[in-house]
Amino acid sequence: MTETVLTHDNEPLEGVVKGRSLLDTALLRLKRNRAAMVSLWVIICMTLAAIIGPTISSHSYDEVYNHFVGEKPSIGAYPKQEQITPITERALSRARVDMEDMNISKDSIKIYIVNRKQEPLDPRITRYLLRADIFQNVELEISQDDPQRGVISADIRPLRFLMGTDQNGRDLLTRILVSLRISLMVGALATGVALIIGVTYGAVSGFIGGNIDNLMMRFVDLLYSLPFVFFVILLVVFFGNNIFLIFIAVGCIQWLDMARIVRGQTLQLKQQEFVQASEALGVNLSNIIKRHIIPNLAGTVVVYMTLLIPRVILLESFLSFLGLGVQEPLTSLGVLIAEGARYMRNDPYLLIFPALTMSILLFALNFLGDGLRDALDPKDR
């Protein structure tokens, strides 16, 4: 009987209702939870933004615009009409030339210049204008009859700072995207390490049981009583400022909860009838683990993972806030918040945007974790 069903596995028999698996039910329940679904989409969007955002952004996260320090957020493009003249004048004085006349149109500029020294113009002075960030395609046309005079024509390069610039003149939006990338990467890394250690440790401890289980869990209890943050700070000292090494280390500490949960689940599963039945049928150990233990653990582990990621992200930003995490010019949400807090009096947007990003990310991760827990909880089905 069993065999006939197995052979027809791919073509469902007529009249046989396909049973709903654990996963199907969980997905269905998750889909009904609107907060969790919205959170899921928010997380997907944020992850995509973190991955491709910094690449498609027209600014680099460490590009400094000296002329646009602390610009307020705006949809319009910089430079504003009234900014062009002073920026141009400064660039020209660096180039040691005087301006005789200037025509500014909407997106291009024509400057009539004369050299301060009694010498012909050097064509290399165009680089002073390029350095002013707001020009592109700068061309110098030296006058035929008077090599001391010339005309510079250039296109004005529109710069957009949707979230403004920071106190060093860097685009805040790009920096937020980069820090989102760092935060998510660090969260995934530490959680991955914690996952591997925790699941292995917990499953082994629960499966073997007896004295070894007892001993292994005492060890976990001992680690629990360590002042955790302190150890992280020591690890920072130890690994210097390599953020990724630090977070592998954080993962090495954060596995404790995971080990406890997995151990409890394994102990419970071991006594379930279906596991005993497969044991009685002679299924070997590795197949029992593959077919029964891991699929049944997966739910709990996934829930715990989504709840661990925000904790790691919080920890990372906490360290960065204290100046122990990511180092300049690279950035993270904690660094941005710390900087924003310093300048919030005059430029509150420097604090508000990173703080908002962080809150939304953590909100979404928490809601998704709660939703998954509800969806996978067999108790109130």
Binding site: L222, I233, L322, S359
Partner: protein
């Protein structure tokens, strides 16, 4: 019960010992030293300084000397705060940190338990939704975000409260609130969950069937079992408050011990690091002990024999 308490106190000592040992060697193996400066000292000078602090001896010998001094209540000289012993430096800041932390903890407990109970009693009504939203907000917003925003609103915009400093009660308000807020949120959520469960239990239904007044049912019977999960959260809460106080003390410029956590580790102020680790570890361990003992009082089913 006494027996259990005694046993638990005995297990604290080896744990503390393990922590001290681990920290000692981790710190010493870490690259760098307390006398690293921008311009390196002359080798002879450096040797003399190290000899005067006993750093020239083999590491194992230093360890035993340190443990010996520690047992006599001496945490050694600070490497950075010259002419001061570590315990003197810590004794100055500790009262401030303790005041800050315990006030925040008390506030988190009282407000959290109240809000959680109110939410549970009004399950799925507007009050409940409001409180749950507030709690989620509190959990997801770390206190280094809350603190600057509160400062921006109350100190800079409205000038009601001072932004920094320590001493007067008004200076305590902002630090305590920003430190307590995430904990309030967590306690609220815990309390709401456990109160909901407690209200469904049989003894509560019986009490209501007897016609006992609602305040009595909730305040006396449901509260007792609902408080247990909150109680077991106290240990982690104490640890979280300690972590939080590092940031809060920095933001509000308070002279507590929080700042030594970071600076001493970065300056390789070995003895200071050890001192702060010992204090924090002791606090956390003692807190866990108290919580376990309180458990027997609140839940007669739990017995330690």
């Amino acid at each position: 019960m006494l027996n259990y308490a005694f046993k638990r106190i005995l297990t604290i000592i080896p744990t503390l010992f393990a922590i001290v040992t681990l920290t000692f060697f981790l710190m010493r193996i870490a690259p760098g030293g307390p006398f690293d400066e921008e311009r390196p000292l002359a080798p002879a000078v450096l040797e003399n300084i190290q000899a005067s602090y006993g750093l020239d001896k083999p590491l194992i010998e230093q360890y035993f000397i340190y443990i010996g001094n520690l047992l006599q209540g001496d945490m050694g000289p600070s490497f950075v705060y010259r002419d001061k012993r570590v315990h003197e430096v810590l004794a100055e800041g500790l009262p401030i940190s303790i005041t800050l932390g315990s006030t925040a903890l008390l506030m988190a407990l009282i407000i959290g338990v109240l809000l959680g109970s109110i939410a549970a009693l009004n399950q799925n009504k507007k009050t409940d939704v409001f409180i749950v939203t507030f709690a989620t907000f509190g959990i997801t917003t770390p206190n280094y975000v809350i603190a600057p925003i509160l400062t921006l609103i109350f100190a800079l915009t409205f000038s009601i409260l001072p932004a920094t400093g320590w001493g007067s009660p008004s200076q305590m308000v902002l630090p305590v609130i920003s430190l307590a807020l995430p904990q309030i949120a967590i306690v609220t959520r815990l309390m709401r969950g456990s109160m909901l469960e407690a209200l469904k239990s049989d003894h509560i239904r019986t009490a209501r069937a007897y016609g006992l007044p609602m305040t009595h049912v909730v305040g006396k019977h449901a509260m007792r079992s609902a408080l247990l999960p909150v109680l077991s959260y106290l240990g982690p809460a104490a640890a979280a408050l300690m972590t939080g106080s590092i940031v809060i003390e920095q933001i509000f410029n308070l002279p507590g011990i929080g700042r030594y956590f970071v600076t001493s580790a970065l300056n390789r102020d070995y003895t200071m690091v050890m001192g702060t680790v010992i204090i924090v570890a002791t606090l956390v361990l003692v807190f866990n002990l108290i919580v376990d003992l309180l458990y027997t009082v609140l839940d007669p089913r739990v017995r330690y024999d």
